[in-house]
């Protein structure tokens, strides 16, 4: 088979991983009932934080940590406002995204032309030498594989552990969970911060591994697509993973088509991921029953203990 298809698959896994990490994080806080529209802003700030850290220290790991911390911190502020002051979740998330866009542009001013050391080539020994499947699947950054494992871990967590059940109950009916004595607010804050940390990791991955540079707005809507993914996947981890790879594929398709010489103006190819998101949302939202039975019932609604 053509070697370029192997590269296409590899690129798809790479692109899909960004979406998957962010979307799985958002899934965690949505299961607890909180929608964080600030994903895009978090990812942008984490991208610059991670990039700047790698420039300063030369260590990828420190860069990822910086992204995680940035994400958790921003999500923490969002969580404090939304959970304790009961501000409107959608508006506050939007504010976070707008602020994040502005702040990342501001903080990244000195890093636009900066370079980081050459990215190492990752590959799994032995497996990487298999013809076609080797280059397609086994020459990825470790995070790609960790993401798949993480999705599996989440499935186990949500559906087989008591802690996961408690988290889901908080998202179903925080009032009932509170009446049963669970610390709804703290659980929600935890979920929001973990979600933010994962969005941060995804953002750092973009600027450190995916396209190792910094440019204003480089996340290009992936945060929003990650949000759409949780709905598209009807809040199930395995489906989130599949959806992420699907979108990664669509994103890669535009480069592949351009490379192959298909005669469509580049702008239309660039539209593909966004149009695909719209189509996919329309298809899944058509049936309100699917949504109702899978969506955490209390999503987006404020919770007032002691009422």
């Amino acid at each position: 088979m053509d070697a370029s298809y192997a590269l296409l698959i590899a690129a798809t896994l790479n692109a899909g991983t960004v979406l998957a990490i962010a979307s799985l994080g958002l899934l965690i806080n949505e299961k607890a009932g909180i929608v964080n529209l600030g994903a895009e802003g978090i990812m942008l700030c984490a991208a610059i934080a991670g990039f700047a850290t790698v420039v300063a220290t030369g260590s990828d790991l420190m860069g990822f940590m910086a992204g995680i911390v940035a994400g958790a911190f921003m999500a923490g502020i969002f969580g404090a406002l939304v959970i304790w002051l009961n501000t409107n979740q959608y508006a506050t998330g939007l504010a976070l995204s707008l602020f994040g866009a502005g702040f990342s542009a501001f903080a990244g001013i000195n890093y636009v032309q900066a370079k980081i050391p050459e990215r190492p080539q990752f590959e799994i020994p032995v497996l990487a030498d298999i013809p076609f499947f080797g280059p397609a699947l086994f020459k990825q950054h470790p995070l790609v594989y960790l993401t798949v494992l993480f999705a599996g871990a989440l499935i186990w967590f949500f559906y087989r552990t008591r802690a996961g059940l408690i988290l889901r109950s908080v998202g179903e009916s925080p009032e009932s969970a509170h009446a049963l004595g669970y610390q709804v607010r703290l659980i929600r804050l935890g979920a929001v911060m973990v979600g933010g940390a994962l969005c941060g990791l995804a953002g750092a991955y973009i600027s450190i591994i995916y396209t190792p540079l910094w440019v204003e707005g480089m996340v290009a809507g992936k945060g929003w697509i990650a949000l759409a993914l949780t709905t598209f996947a009807t809040w199930r981890p395995a489906r989130v993973l599949l959806g992420a790879y699907l979108f990664g594929g669509v994103t890669m398709l535009q480069f592949h088509l351009q490379g192959v010489g298909v005669d469509i103006p580049s702008q239309f190819l660039s539209m593909l991921p966004y149009l695909a998101t719209i189509v996919v949302l329309a298809l899944i939202s058509r049936n309100p029953r699917w949504i109702r039975i899978n969506m955490p019932a209390a999503i987006g609604k404020p919770f007032y203990p002691g009422s």
């Binding site: 501000t87 506050t92 502005g102 809507g221 759409a228 702008q267 966004y274 719209i278």
Partner: protein, 356 residues
């Protein structure tokens, strides 16, 4: 410990006071930011809050920047009061600009000045079309309008890119991605000479009055808002939620498209890839800080344009990056949301007695 206690009736004092408190918090954080960046905070405050008000011409510039913000925010206020989350005003603005450019490019040299009318109408229709897409998807497929309208912004940017790199590229433009400059006749007339304010200001003021009447004195405006306040009550009353959805999207799309047309056929005079200036997103902040009220939004539009102009001045005079504007704008919205809590809640010092 400090606790938040519910107020039986929302506080009128804090309804006005909250945006001011938010502004104060933003200014304080700004001062800290200036100091951390090694710049004189007083000079920074002066640039942001005094320079834009200094002269008649400066005030005019303020109004020029505020006009598109206010126009778009008026439409967004209708949306948010109806619980329709139109986040894609930026895309509707762009398509309005593209549509208006299309008509402007068709104008023959030396044509009648009345061509301005179809140019503006095209802008309105373009914006409505783009907003209508999001409304249609919500209506037919129940898709989340936040994500759809936002995705359409990215699509709109690509549409704009296609037009200026492709079919509309100026043949005499040295291969730069831009259309040719529009004929003089298509340019939006100025209000009076000596200032760049255009008749767009009149539209904005009309819009303020119109929105006030619509929201507070018409049956349709009331029905629109009940849908956002209590959907079950709207259904009980027999108000059409479908009608409310389309009304909100079409009005806001039309206004955003109008703003796009006024910009591109006004100060810009041609279509370029730099048309997206983020007004569609800044207008979201204008709407909230202005409490979704027509008069409040007039003030918040002026405030936001002060941030814009201040940012430009800070770049040229203090060497600070222009993106500072974005930081302040985002900060303002954030602090506003926090301060808004005081409208419905009271901070009290509570002693809780355990059973002894």
């Amino acid at each position: 410990m400090l606790k938040l206690e519910n107020r039986p009736q929302p506080s009128a004092f804090w309804s006005y006071g909250s945006p001011l408190l938010a502004l104060l918090c933003t200014v304080v954080i700004g001062v800290i930011l200036f100091a951390m960046l090694g710049k004189d905070p007083v000079r920074g405050l002066q640039i942001f809050f005094w320079e834009p008000l200094k002269s008649g011409y400066a005030l005019g510039e303020l109004v020029v920047k505020a006009t598109p913000l206010l126009l778009i925010a008026l439409g967004l206020a209708v949306c948010y009061r109806s619980n329709v989350w139109n986040i894609g005003a930026e895309g509707q603005y762009l398509i309005g600009a593209v549509a208006a450019s299309g008509v402007a490019l068709m104008a023959p040299p030396g044509g009648s000045a009345w061509i301005v009318v179809p140019v503006l109408v095209a802008g309105v229709l373009g914006g409505m079309l783009w907003a209508g897409l999001a409304a249609l998807l919500k209506d037919r497929f129940n898709t989340n309008e936040i994500l759809v309208s936002l995705m359409l912004v990215y699509v709109a940017v690509q549409v704009l890119g296609f037009m200026v790199y492709g079919p509309w590229k100026d043949p005499n433009g040295y291969n730069f991605p831009q259309t040719k400059t529009f004929e003089a006749a298509t340019r939006i007339p100025r209000l009076f000479s000596g200032s760049r304010m255009s008749i767009g200001v009149l539209f904005a003021l009309l819009g303020v009055a119109g929105l006030w009447v619509f929201l507070f004195r018409t049956r349709a405006g009331f029905a629109q808002q009940v849908g956002g306040l209590a959907p079950a009550a709207a259904r009980y009353a027999g108000f059409s939620s479908r009608g409310a959805l389309w009304t909100a999207f079409l009005i806001s799309g039309g206004l955003a498209g109008l703003a796009g047309a006024l910009e591109v056929a006004g100060p810009l005079g041609q279509l370029t890839p730099y048309v997206p200036a983020g007004y569609g997103f800044a207008a979201i902040i204008v709407a909230y800080v202005g409490r979704l009220h027509p008069v409040g939004m007039m003030f918040s539009a002026i405030l936001m344009s002060m941030f814009y102009i201040g940012g430009e001045l800070a770049q040229s005079r203090l060497g600070l990056p222009k993106s500072l504007t974005g930081v302040f704008q985002g900060l303002l919205l954030f602090t506003l949301l926090g301060c808004d809590t005081l409208v419905n809640y009271r901070l009290v010092w509570k002693r809780t007695a355990g059973a002894k």
